[in-house]
Amino acid sequence: MMNSIETRVPVTVLTGFLGSGKTTLLNRILTENHGKKIAVIENEFGEVGIDNDLVIGAEEEIFEMNNGCICCTVRGDLIRILGHLMKRRDKFDYIMVETTGMADPGPVAQTFYVDDDMQEKLHLDAIVTLVDAKHIWKHIDDSDEAKEQVAFADVILLNKIDLVAPEDLEKLEARIKSMNSMAKIYRSRDAVVEMEKILNVGGFNLDRALDIDPKFMEPEYPFEWSGIYNLKAGDYQWLMGEGPDPAMGAALLPLANKGLAAQEATLMDAVLAYSEEEQAVEPGETIRLGKGQHNQLVLNESGETVFNISIQQPGYYMLFTEHHPDEFEARLRGAEPALDPLETREYKPDHEHDEAVTSVGITIHGDLQLEKLNGWLSQLLREQGQDIFRMKGVLSVRGLDKRYVFQGVHMLFDGRPDRLWGNEPRQNKMIFIGRNLDRAALENGFRECLAS
């Protein structure tokens, strides 16, 4: 269908709510001395040349297109403007398309898949979403546009971090990761970011996104709270009052140091521990410590319940609880009566949100049969295309010595062989981002595509 050597001009789509810093970022890109020629399609009127670059104003015209069984929306104005731009002799290195704040990124992304002239000359390199770290909370739970902008993104820029406390930023990042584990997240002030992080990131980003451990892509955290304690060797008690449930899950894991990287590593251990079968801990018994230990703390029918904790190695520990300790007036007691955690973190489990936007990453070994894959994807997209925002994959196809890479937006997808596998182990990785995704069904369907 297309050459594997990319000669098409990369297009970056810039989304983000009003005030997230899109204009600041665009102005920075246009005025920075980077030696590249960039055309910017803005949602304001007027065409202006700035030194080497070109800024074209466009009025969004969203058209519905019916092509046989698929139906999608595209940006008619972009087809016209970019079609014309591609005829110019002065070729551009990059094209950036800015969307309006409330825009659903679907139509603009789909434009690059459905029109042959666009497909031939341009390729969608990345969707970059700017997030106003301070004000996003107002939108993220109840605005479909905000959710979609996060879900569609290949790169997310958490902007205005200087206006937010570090722990809020952590929370925000965790929330965003739970919605879109594929995106690369950067933090910025005044939209200051290196150009190479947002322009021409395509292939690199794809590999990177898919190399994330699939376990980490678990979209929902099975716990709501964690606390870090610095514990000496000795005996401790975890006290719990009556609460909403007769039992509560808990995992207690050592933490190498208080740094973020160490915390991330322990967080992963906790996700893994919670995926193990739970072991009941009756009142007065000792909570099992370490990796793979999923405790189920069984409470007395009334009054307070005491669980024991025995620490051999002094150091930092992180306790992950299924519910917030406040719900049970739970606390840790040692030689000193009150032991407060040094740091705490709350996790918003996704099951609290209706129509949650999540991502599902799947890795399977073996070679796929392309016809089966096409059949499965076509059916999947016919049935669920509106809910699947993005998908990407690097696949091992039987009879093909090159990696087969593909990506899609809603019901449209574009796949092709890229480079030789070489020494890299052949396997299949796919990631879906969307609403109401059923991991088990997706995994089964994908597995069915293996060559028999």
Partner: protein, 348 residues
């Protein structure tokens, strides 16, 4: 030996190059003056070159539009040429002196379409959703209420009594003497281009959703043709209104409108292009069809009900950018994306 030589001489080449030039730009408009004397070609970066059709000498190089010229149209007297572009202007040029006669505001930053009426008394321009009617001196007669979306095409009926625009949502018909549209042919899709059949019975549109529509102007009924490979930007009617040639793929699809019409009929398919066909033009009074594609192939076809055939072909080094038959049907002007302009006589 002798016999062979004679034989070779008897087979005349069907395409005979007359002259060639290069405008060093991506051509976007190509039009013969109605008196056949001048060939106008616009380059995407702005300038419009007027060539002497007989020998290829440059008569004038008009500056055109600072930020890209988008389209050109000749007045029937061959003296006036209208152009529009991304500087937001409609410009009228004197083709004899090369001077600009008038400059008008199109109403938006991109003026994409312009069309003189067949009798020359009107000029219509479209800029985004703005539709304006002018007289041939460049005086504004009327601005119509904004169209629903960007106007993609404007075409006059052969008698000049009506014109039609296409846009997202179909086709709208106007009488240049009336402020209100005459009627609308509505379609939930983006109609990219339109062509009146010469007898005005049909308006054909090519659409973004890979369909072709035949609007029957009398009833407003619509025949839809599905199954194209890609969006359809190429439409051409034969002079007798019998055939509509359509692109939207690597094969030209020819619908026969005689008898019961094209509905449920099997079209003629022309195979020969390796890549997408981008241009189709019928002769004004003959049955030859010219096709130009992204493969750089120019092909001349004889269209008949049962045995259509390719009569001649030539290969250009870049995709074909525009095609135009001379008013007397004897020559064809062809440009490719590298800027080559070639005029060839077509012999039968």
């Amino acid at each position: 030996m002798r016999q062979r030589k004679r034989k070779a001489r008897r087979v005349k080449p069907a395409l005979e190059a007359k002259w060639r030039a290069n405008i060093d730009d991506h051509p976007i408009g190509l039009a013969w003056s109605p008196d056949s004397k001048t060939v106008a070609i616009a380059g995407v970066s702005g300038p419009i070159t007027l060539f002497n059709a007989a020998d290829g000498l440059v008569l004038h190089k008009l500056p055109g539009h600072a930020l890209d010229t988008m389209s050109i149209s000749w007045h029937k007297d061959s003296r006036l040429l209208a152009s529009v572009g991304q500087d937001g202007k409609v410009r009228l040029w004197d083709a004899e002196t090369g001077a600009q006669r008038a400059e008008m505001a199109g109403g938006s930053s991109w003026v994409e379409r312009v069309a003189f009426s067949p009798l020359g008394e009107y000029l219509v321009s479209a800029a985004g959703r703005k539709l304006r009617l002018w007289n041939s001196c460049g005086e504004l007669i009327r601005e119509y209420p904004d169209a629903n979306s960007t106007i993609a095409d404007i075409k006059w009926r052969r008698d000049g009594r009506q014109f039609a625009i296409s846009a997202y949502n179909g086709v709208v018909l106007y009488d240049p003497e009336e402020a209100e549209p005459l009627r609308r042919f509505e379609w939930q899709g983006s109609s990219l281009t339109l062509e009146w059949s010469p007898d005005s019975k049909y308006i054909a549109t090519g659409d973004q959703d890979s369909t072709v529509h035949f609007w029957i102007t009398e009833t407003g009924n619509d025949l839809q043709m599905w199954g194209y490979e890609t969006k359809v930007l190429e439409l051409a009617w034969s002079y007798n209104s019998r055939y509509l040639a359509t692109g939207g793929g690597t094969q030209a699809v020819i619908w026969d409108c005689s008898g019961k019409g094209p509905e449920n009929s099997k079209p003629i398919m022309l195979e020969g292009h390796q890549r997408l066909i981008k241009h189709l033009k019928f002769q004004r009074k003959g049955m030859l069809l010219a096709s130009g594609g992204n493969d750089g192939l120019l092909a001349i076809w004889k269209i008949r009900k049962n045995n259509s055939a390719m009569l001649a072909d030539a290969v250009f080094k870049a995709p074909i950018a525009s095609l135009a038959w001379s008013p007397d049907d004897r020559c064809i002007a062809v440009s490719d994306e590298s800027g080559t302009l070639s005029i060839a006589a077509v012999r039968r």
